[in-house]
Homo-oligomer: 216 residues x 3
C-alpha cells in the first residue's frame, strides 16, 4: 500500500460540498429568471409577488451558504482548498443579495417605465447566471470538464464586457434625456444595481477560474 493511498483513507475527498454549491447556483438562476420577468411586467400585484419570490430565493441562499460555511468549519478535508469553497459560496451569496436589491429598488421606487437598456442588462444577468450554474455543475468533475468550464467562464467575461457597454449607454442616455430628476435618481440606482449584479457574476467566474488553475 503506497503512502498516498494510505493518506487518502484518512483524507477522503469530501464530496458533500458539490450538491450545496449546485443548490446555490440553481437558486441564483431561478432568481435571475424572476428578475427578468419583473422587468417586463406591468402588473403591480404580479411585480410585488415576483419581488417576494426573489427575496425567498435570497433567504434560501443565506441558509445554504450558512450550511456550507458550517461544514467547512467542521470538515478536515474539502474537495478544493477550504478558501476556494468559501469564496465561491460567498460570491454566489453576494449575487443573490444584489439581485434582491435590484428587485427591492424596483418595488420601492416604482419607476414610471424601464428604459430598454435595463431590459438588456437583465437579459445579460439571466444568461450569466445560467452559464455560472453550468460551470458550478461541472466542478465535481473538474479534471474531465476542464475545457467546458473554461468556456463558461469566458462566456461570462464576454457578457460582463457587453454589460459594461450597455451600462455606459444607459447612464449617458439618462443624464442627457431624462429631465425629471426624481425619475433619473430612481433609474440611475436601478441601473447601477443591475451592473453590480453582472460584475458579481463575473467575480464568481473568476473564483472558478482560479480553482481551475490549481486543480484541473
Amino acid at each position: 500500500m503506497k503512502i498516498n493511498t494510505l493518506l487518502s483513507i484518512f483524507a477522503p475527498k469530501d464530496v458533500k460540498f458539490f450538491p450545496m454549491l449546485e443548490e446555490t447556483a440553481a437558486l441564483l438562476s431561478q432568481s435571475s429568471a424572476y428578475l427578468q420577468e419583473l422587468f417586463s411586467c406591468d402588473d403591480k400585484a404580479h411585480r410585488e409577488e415576483l419581488c417576494k419570490l426573489i427575496k425567498a430565493e435570497e433567504v434560501k441562499g443565506d441558509k445554504v451558504t450558512g450550511n456550507i460555511i458550517h461544514e467547512l468549519n467542521n470538515t478536515f478535508i474539502t474537495p478544493f482548498d477550504r478558501e476556494d469553497v468559501h469564496a465561491l459560496a460567498d460570491v454566489m451569496d453576494d449575487v443573490l443579495d444584489v439581485i434582491n436589491r435590484c428587485a427591492q429598488k424596483v418595488q420601492l421606487y416604482q419607476p414610471q417605465r424601464f428604459p430598454s437598456h435595463t431590459v438588456t442588462l437583465v437579459e445579460v444577468i439571466k444568461k450569466g447566471s445560467d452559464e455560472l450554474q453550468s460551470a458550478v455543475n461541472e466542478l465535481s468533475n473538474i479534471k474531465k470538464t476542464d475545457l467546458r468550464l473554461r468556456a463558461h467562464c469566458k462566456e461570462i467575461k464576454k457578457l460582463e464586457e457587453e454589460a459594461d457597454t450597455v451600462y455606459e449607454e444607459a447612464i449617458t442616455y439618462l443624464f442627457s434625456q431624462e429631465t425629471n430628476a426624481v425619475e433619473l435618481i430612481k433609474l440611475k440606482e436601478i441601473i447601477q444595481e443591475l451592473e453590480k449584479t453582472v460584475n458579481k457574476i463575473n467575480s464568481a467566474a473568476k473564483v472558478i477560474t482560479s480553482i481551475l488553475v490549481k486543480y484541473a
Copy 2:
C-alpha cells in the same frame, strides 16, 4: 500535574482584550445617544456640537481598535480565536464609522426636516447599540452567560428586521411624496446611512453568535 494544567501555564487566557472590546462598545452606545439627540434637535449650534462629539467617539474608537489589533499581533494566546476578536473589533469600529457618516451627512446636507421614519430608525440604532454593549459586557464570562448573550443577539436581529420595514416605508414615502428633488437626495442618503448602521450592528451580533457557537 495534568498536561492540560501544564499547558495552561504556558498559554494563559489573555483577558486584556475584554476591557478593550467593552470600551469600544461603550463608545458606540454613547455615539448612538448623541445621534438620537441630533435627530430631535432644531438648534443649529447644538447640532454642530453633537456632530463633533460623534466624530470624537469615532476617533477614540479608531485608537482602541488600533490597540486591539496591535495586541492581537503581539499576543500568542487570545481568549477566543484571534480572528474572532479581530472581527468583533473591526465591525464595532465600522458601526462607529457609519454613525459618524450619518451625523456628517446631516451636518453637510442640512435637510429642512426629519421625517418621522428617521426618528424611529435612530431609536432602533440606540436600542441596538445598548443590546450590543450588554452582549459585549457578558463575553468575558461566556460559559455562564450563554443564554443572556443569545437573548441580546436575538433582540438585535429583531430590531434589524423592524428597521428593514421602517426603511422600506421611509423610501416609499420619500419617492411618492417628496417633490423637491434636492431634499429627496438629502433624505434618501441619510435614511440609507441609518439603515446601514442597523445592519452593521446586526453584523456585530452575528460575530458574537458565531463566537457563542464555538465557545459556549
Copy 3:
C-alpha cells in the same frame, strides 16, 4: 557559520516584488496626472482621450497586481510578510480603479462645469500619488530609508485631512448653491469619488506604515 546565516541561504529575500510594486506606483502617479489634466480640460475630444488613457493604466495595473499575486502564491519567502505585499498591491490596485471611476463619471455625466473644489481635490490626489510613489520606491531599502518613508506617509495623512475639509466645503456648497438637481447629482457623485481616491491613497500609506512598524 551561524544558524541565522545558514537559514538565510534557504530563505533568500526575494526581491522581485519591489519592481512590481514600483511599477504599480508609477502607473498610479501617471493616472493621477491624466486625471488632473481631465479636470482642467474643456475640449471634449481630449477629455475622451484622457479617459481612455486612465482606463489603460487601470488595465495595466490589473495585470501587474495579477502577477504579484501569482508570484506570492508561488514564492516561499517574500521580502515582507506575504500578507503585507498582498495588501499593498491590492490597495494600489484599488486606487487605480477609483481614479478610473472618477474619469468614467466625468465622461458619462458630462457636468456643465467643475467647481473649484474638484480642481483642488484632483491636485491633492496628484500630490498624494507622488508621495506614495516615493514611499514605494524606498521600500526595497526599508532599514536605511525609515525616516524618509515615515515622512511620505505623514505627508499623505496631511493631504487626506486637507481633502476632508475641501470635500465638506464642496458638498455644503453644492447643496446650498446648486439649484439644478441633475447637475447636483452629477457633481456630488464625482466629488465623492474624488474623496474616495484620497482615502484609498491614505489606506496605501497605512499599509506602508504597518510594514514600517514591523521591519524598519
